[in-house]
């Protein structure tokens, strides 16, 4: 019997400090056993449990895309016991990955449609996975317009800045990068909160699906903007966070009503969430 709690051993191949405050680092992980890499077949939107022997596990969205072979990427915010330890680990260190876990963004429904991505702060991880995935030459023709609104507190707090700059140059993706405030006179993108920029830049919801990922306050204020633009709640897709342990719907803590965020989510449409108790 497969043990769903057993992590695959991985080696840290690279660590990038993403933000100026040093609280966000991206870890590039390589499987020790190529068989495990094959078994770890994932779809953008899913997450995994990162395991550090002696410290514990943390559920983190997968930031790499399945179109990127040979490694996994996770961007981790330093907040608690495991993440603090992880931030002190070095390239070459051994740890574990358990997954892939949870559901994914509704790719079948997104194909053939316009895709709007709204992200805030460090919740951009599975959105990065999704953008890389959609921009892959094999996948790009499957989607119509791709529009991205991504904001952070300041330019230094944006994740994946090199990639953002590359995407800005492309004509097959509409990027709207924004920061809450900056005193950088050379800042060439937007200034303003994500919901306001979304309202300015998006003109309609025709044949579009919106994926929204960010802090609760951003989600709360983006929701009415999208609804005003004409997005029905079935086409507003959210990815939720919860305290998790098992990651497979068994340990009982991450439920919203009868749904387990780890197994039935983390991706829910707004329509589905409206049918569930408001407890997340």
């Amino acid at each position: 019997m497969e043990n769903p709690y057993l992590p695959y051993p991985v080696r840290i191949e690279g660590i990038v400090t993403e933000t100026e405050d040093g609280n966000l680092k991206t870890f590039k992980l390589v499987f020790l056993n190529p068989e495990h890499e094959k078994k770890f077949s994932y779809i953008p939107g899913q997450f995994a449990e990162l395991s550090v022997a002696g410290k514990g596990e943390i559920p983190i969205g997968i930031a790499s895309s399945p179109t990127e072979k040979g490694f996994l990427k996770f961007t981790v915010n330093r907040v608690g016991l495991v993440t603090k330890h992880l931030h002190n680990m070095k390239e070459g260190d051994l740890m574990g990955v358990r997954g892939p876990l949870g559901n994914w963004y509704p790719w079948e429904e997104m194909e053939g449609r316009n895709v709007v991505i709204v992200g805030g702060g460090f919740a951009f991880t599975t959105l990065r996975s999704s953008i890389i995935y959609m921009l892959h030459p094999e996948n790009r023709p499957k989607f119509k317009d791709i529009t991205v609104v991504y904001g952070a507190r300041s330019p230094e707090m944006l994740l994946y800045r090199d990639e953002l700059a590359d995407w800005e140059q492309r004509d097959d993706i509409h990027m709207h990068i924004t920061v809450d405030a900056t005193d950088d006179p050379d800042w060439k993108y937007n200034i303003g909160f994500v919901p306001a920029v979304t309202e300015q830049k998006l003109t309609n919801a025709d044949d579009a699906i919106a994926i929204v990922c960010g802090p609760p306050i951003m989600i709360r204020f983006t929701q009415p903007v999208l609804e005003k633009l004409g997005f029905p709640s079935e086409r507003i897709i959210l990815s939720l966070e919860m305290r998790m342990k098992c990651g497979i719907g068994i340990c009982g803590r991450c439920n919203i009503g009868d749904q387990y965020v780890c197994k039935d989510g983390p991706v829910f449409s707004l329509a589905r969430l409206k049918e569930l108790p408001n407890e997340y």
Partner: protein, 345 residues
């Protein structure tokens, strides 16, 4: 399958004789309560109890259990790599489990053994366990198993059902596993019609003496968001001190935590029972807590058992009517009352 009769002395000596094939757990009296213990030469089993204070769920799902072990010694080639902790899954038998507690294992099984994931610790332990139930001749005032899909002689989840016929035990095999257990005991003789009739009469009489009933029939059709917003939760939770006794005693509470523990350069990943009564259960790393307030946690416990479980598994309520939480709640919160409120809302 043959129903057998054992004198009470014969039953205990037969169990002692079967210890080579099974680890046998049996109720033992401690001052004012009973608890399951491993049967040894010195054990004095006592079958005169309404129920054990704790359900025997820990014999299938230990309160604390090692899942993995690892070395943190950098000189060790396999350092930091988790290995499954070796387990002893030789056969065990729980003798004297009440039908409600066996029913509970059946209800909990859908959580640990589902189409997507099988929890190997639970599945293997349950598979290696034979459940020898003891029917209830005397329901107590807090028993309401008959309202929640069980009964004093319910066979749900059991491998053998025992009837205590005063001088003798009548042992009815229910599954192949149960039949094999009785064969292993070797002793006992076939039950005659008189004793079979006596067993039936006593079972009927027990059923007639149930005084406590609860209506659960309308729970499934309720709108979950409406029940969640119902005005009675504040009142239900008012006296609760979030001690968690109910979850600890409850045979259907299954929530757990996973923790790493390190001693020197050796570590274990361990799972421990956890409970929705505690704020840490749902506290995010960010500090946000979806169930920060007591009323939210109390509501979660009842909604989980009486609505979310009902909706998710279509398998009835996740309560077997054992009455433990009713008896031991220090502030007298009564699940029967809460169930009535929900059902009537």
């Amino acid at each position: 399958m043959v129903t057998k009769i054992f004198t009470k002395g014969e039953w205990v000596s037969a169990l002692k004789g079967a210890r080579g094939d099974y680890r046998i757990f049996i109720p033992v009296k401690h001052k004012d309560f009973h608890a399951f213990e491993l049967l040894s030469d010195e054990t004095q089993p006592d079958f005169e109890y309404q129920n054990t204070r704790l359900s025997p769920k820990s014999l299938i799902y230990p309160q604390s259990e090692r899942m993995f072990e690892y070395s943190l010694d950098e000189k060790d080639e396999e350092a930091h790599i988790l290995k499954e902790t070796p387990k002893d899954y030789t056969p065990q038998a729980v003798v004297g489990i009440r039908p409600c507690d066996a029913h509970a294992l059946q209800l909990v099984n859908v959580n640990f053994d589902n189409p997507q994931y099988r929890d190997p610790l639970w599945v293997k332990r349950l598979e290696s366990t034979t459940l020898i139930g003891l029917g209830c001749n005397e329901p107590c005032s807090t028993c309401f198993c008959t309202s929640v899909g069980g009964g004093p002689f319910s066979e749900k989840g059991l491998d053998v059902l025992l009837h205590d016929l005063e001088d003798v035990f009548l042992a009815k095999p229910i599954t192949q596993k149960g039949e094999a257990f009785l064969e292993q005991l070797g002793q006992g003789k076939g039950a005659d019609d008189t004793l079979l009739e006596k067993a039936e009469t006593m079972a009927r009489s027990s059923l007639e003496r149930f005084t406590s009933t609860v209506d659960t029939g309308k729970l499934k059709d309720k709108e979950v968001t409406e029940l969640f917003e119902a005005p009675f939760w504040e009142e239900v939770a008012f006296a609760c001190i979030n001690c968690g006794t109910c979850t600890y005693l409850c045979p259907t509470c299954w929530c757990f935590d996973i923790q790493d523990e390190v001693l020197g350069k050796e570590g274990d990943r361990i799972r421990n029972w956890d409970a929705c009564m505690f704020p840490l259960f749902t506290l995010h790393g960010s500090g946000h807590n979806p169930r920060d307030e007591k009323v939210q946690r109390v509501r979660q416990r009842f909604m989980h058992k009486l609505k979310y479980y009902v909706d998710r598994y279509n398998n009835g309520v996740a309560c077997v009517g054992c009455g433990r939480c009713v008896q031991f709640c220090p502030v007298n919160i009564d699940i029967r009352h809460v169930c009535e409120l929900m059902n009537a809302f």
